[in-house]
């Protein structure tokens, strides 16, 4: 019986290790490839061990870019992506927490109608409304700008609904106690509701940051200038080159760099993230 358990455990661990290997191998390849000489990769002689070009490849990637016509330092692309992802994540949280506050705590005409309108936008992601959205952004002269990158993606039904659900679980007595304690609507929001929503906000931030960071279609459409490129669009452009060898080490280095901020955000906010998903502080 005991041996049986042991064998079972080894089998289970073996399966898990296989799974990890399948997931991790491409990442490993990307890291290895980003440290090798391009000619070697082009010849199909890439080693599975790290090469010796780590510093020069990453230096070139971050500060110079590929040698092709659309040369743009990846550092700049990362900055663009970072600004966009932060603006989307923070903007979404800010807007949706305020609208959820209005919908849950205030009685005003057409409250439910407005709630349903927000709800319906769940069914209209950017891809569906891309033409009208593009038209509006273009008419507002926001093409090739951070505002154009982030603003159309900020309004969020999901986050509003999430905050609404959370607010509805906050006992009414807290609001009443605040009213007796002389806190007006803004104070109650700032002093009580925001601190209570902290873990929810952290969880949302992680999800929304990654969502924003991974945007591809929208930035591709509205940015034409190279210096406004985001990293996801940039990688794609690096791969398709005309009349030249794809500079795989640089492409791979870019891919590795593109992974870092989401990884950092997840690791940094993991504790809060998990708490926000599983428990409500009450």
């Amino acid at each position: 019986m005991v041996e049986d358990e042991g064998i079972r455990r080894y089998v289970a661990h073996f399966i898990l290790w296989v799974g990890i290997a399948i997931v991790a191998f491409p990442v490993y390849i990307a890291i290895v490839a980003s440290t090798q000489d391009n000619a070697l990769i082009a010849n199909g002689q890439m080693s599975l061990l790290p090469g010796g070009h780590f510093f020069e490849v990453y230096y070139q990637t971050i500060f110079v870019g590929t040698s092709g016509s659309t040369r743009e330092p990846v550092g700049n692309m990362m900055l663009n992506s970072l600004v966009m992802a932060l603006a989307i994540a923070i903007g979404k949280i800010a807007i949706s927490i305020i609208s959820a506050y209005a919908i849950v705590y205030f009685r005003f005409p057409f409250r439910m109608a407005i709630f349903w309108i927000i709800f319906i936008t769940l069914m209209l992601p950017v891809e569906v409304r891309i033409y009208p959205t593009y038209k509006i952004v273009a008419d507002l002269h926001m093409l090739d700008s951070y505002a154009g990158l982030a603003l159309p993606l900020i309004a969020s039904a999901t986050a509003t609904l999430l905050f609404r659900q959370f607010f509805m679980t906050v006992p009414d007595e807290l609001l009443e106690a605040s009213r007796i304690d002389g806190a007006g609507p803004l104070r109650f929001f700032w002093d009580t509701l925001l601190p209570l929503s902290r873990t929810n906000m952290a969880a949302l931030f992680v999800i929304l940051f990654i969502l924003g960071w991974n945007q591809y279609l929208w930035p591709l459409l509205i940015t034409t200038r190279d210096d406004m490129q985001t990293i996801q669009v940039g990688i794609r452009k690096m791969i398709t080159t005309t009349d030249a060898l794809t500079e795989w080490p640089i492409v791979m280095a870019t891919a590795v760099l593109a992974m870092l901020p989401p990884v950092f955000v997840v690791v940094a906010m993991q504790k809060l993230f998990v708490r926000g998903l599983v428990e409500t502080e009450k």
């Binding site: 006992p171 007595e173 807290l174 009443e176 106690a177 009213r179 007796i180 304690d181 002389g182 806190a183 104070r187 002093d191 009580t192 601190p195 209570l196 902290r198 502080e281 009450k282």
Partner: protein
């Protein structure tokens, strides 16, 4: 320091439901007023109207000589203790108590003095830096009390503050609340559904039912002379025995105008097991059906064969024909025994047939 006066207060919800149907109550300065009644009787609604958390749709609420119908809760100079305490979960005990003071722009030094004084009184001093979730139920309850007393308001409002505590702690806190209120001498209104809590705490007891006041007065006076059969069966445990006066058995014993009253009430402790019939009193033959021994006293549940007639329906009412008798000690007749119980005339309560009026015989 203030008196609270409710003048013909009404609450009608938009759907047309009348939660409070014209309540008049006068709580003098420094008095402890308890609103008691079954759930849904409107007692909490009434308290929340005094707090300003519910709008008043009719009548006037007067706190310290000022009609406060349109005044915001924060400006009414009241403090409230909620059933679930409603502590701010993310704030320390200290900040929970200080929050209301800081919102009023009080200087930090004064805030500190007041919070520390309250913490000392409530024995919360060692836990000022803890968060509410690190406290036990009784400690949270005390923090909620502390939040109320640091404000030094004109009126304390308590909304069933003890109902989330276990029985032992509830009794201890009940005494503490009473002592605290005596010392601070602050007018208080306290809502509960527990008649024992109501009896022990109140200077003025307000018994409510169906959005109306059934009786107002000193708790013992209410116990001695309940104005309606509702009050008779709600105040006192076990409830008063109520029976129709129309049966021959009782009619003949009461005699005269008393027999026309409609409903006769006798408290369980006013019966004695005896073969004699006191002059002008009432004696009933009973068959013993159940015995409850609780130590100092024993409850005998007996049935009257003759009386199948149901009297006014009120909560806590006994099944028709059943009579509870309370006797001291643990001596009790055997189950199935036939006994005779009697009560003397001054202990009889007479009510009109609908139970709405007390008749003094």
């Amino acid at each position: 320091m203030a008196n609270v006066t409710l003048r013909n207060v009404r609450k009608t919800y938009t759907g047309g439901f009348e939660a409070i149907k014209g309540v008049n109550v006068d709580v003098a300065d420094g008095q402890f007023c308890v609103l008691v009644g079954p759930s849904g009787c409107g007692k909490s609604t009434l308290l929340r109207m005094v707090a300003g958390l519910e709008t008043v749709t009719g009548g006037e609420i007067d706190i310290g000589g000022r009609v406060v119908n349109q005044v915001e809760p924060a400006d009414r100079d009241i403090a409230m203790v909620f059933q679930n305490y409603a502590l701010y979960p993310h704030m320390s005990v200290y900040n929970n108590m200080a929050y209301g003071l800081r919102n009023r722009g009080m200087a930090e030094a004064e805030v500190k003095t007041r919070v520390e004084e309250a913490a000392r009184v409530l024995e919360l001093a060692p836990m000022l830096e803890r968060k509410p979730r690190q406290l036990s139920g009784g400690q949270r309850q005390r923090v909620a009390m502390g939040r109320a007393i640091v404000r030094q308001p004109k009126v304390f409002l308590f909304d069933e503050p003890l109902s989330n505590l276990d029985a032992k702690l509830r009794i201890a806190m009940r005494v503490e609340i009473r002592k605290l209120q005596r010392r601070l001498n602050t007018t208080s209104i306290y809502v509960t559904h527990d008649q024992l809590e109501a009896m022990t705490l109140a200077d003025v007891l307000v018994v409510m039912n169906g959005g109306q006041v059934e009786q107002v007065g000193n708790p013992l006076a209410i116990y001695e002379k309940p104005a309606t059969t509702f009050v008779a069966s709600f105040i006192g445990a076990p409830p008063m025995n109520l029976m129709s006066t129309r049966t021959d058995e009782i009619k003949s014993q009461l005699g005269g105008s008393a027999s026309e009253a409609g409903i006769l009430g006798i408290r369980p402790e006013d019966f004695a097991i005896t073969d004699q019939t006191p002059a002008g009193g009432v004696a009933l033959p009973l068959m013993v059906e159940a015995i409850e021994r609780v130590g100092a006293e024993t409850f005998v549940y007996g049935s009257r064969a003759q009386d199948e007639q149901r009297v006014a329906a009120t909560p806590g009412e006994l099944p028709p024909g059943e009579v509870i008798v309370r006797i001291p000690g643990t001596e009790a007749p055997a189950i199935g025994a036939r006994i005779r119980v009697a009560a003397v005339r001054p202990k009889l309560h007479l009510f009109s047939g609908d139970g709405r009026t007390r008749i003094e015989a």
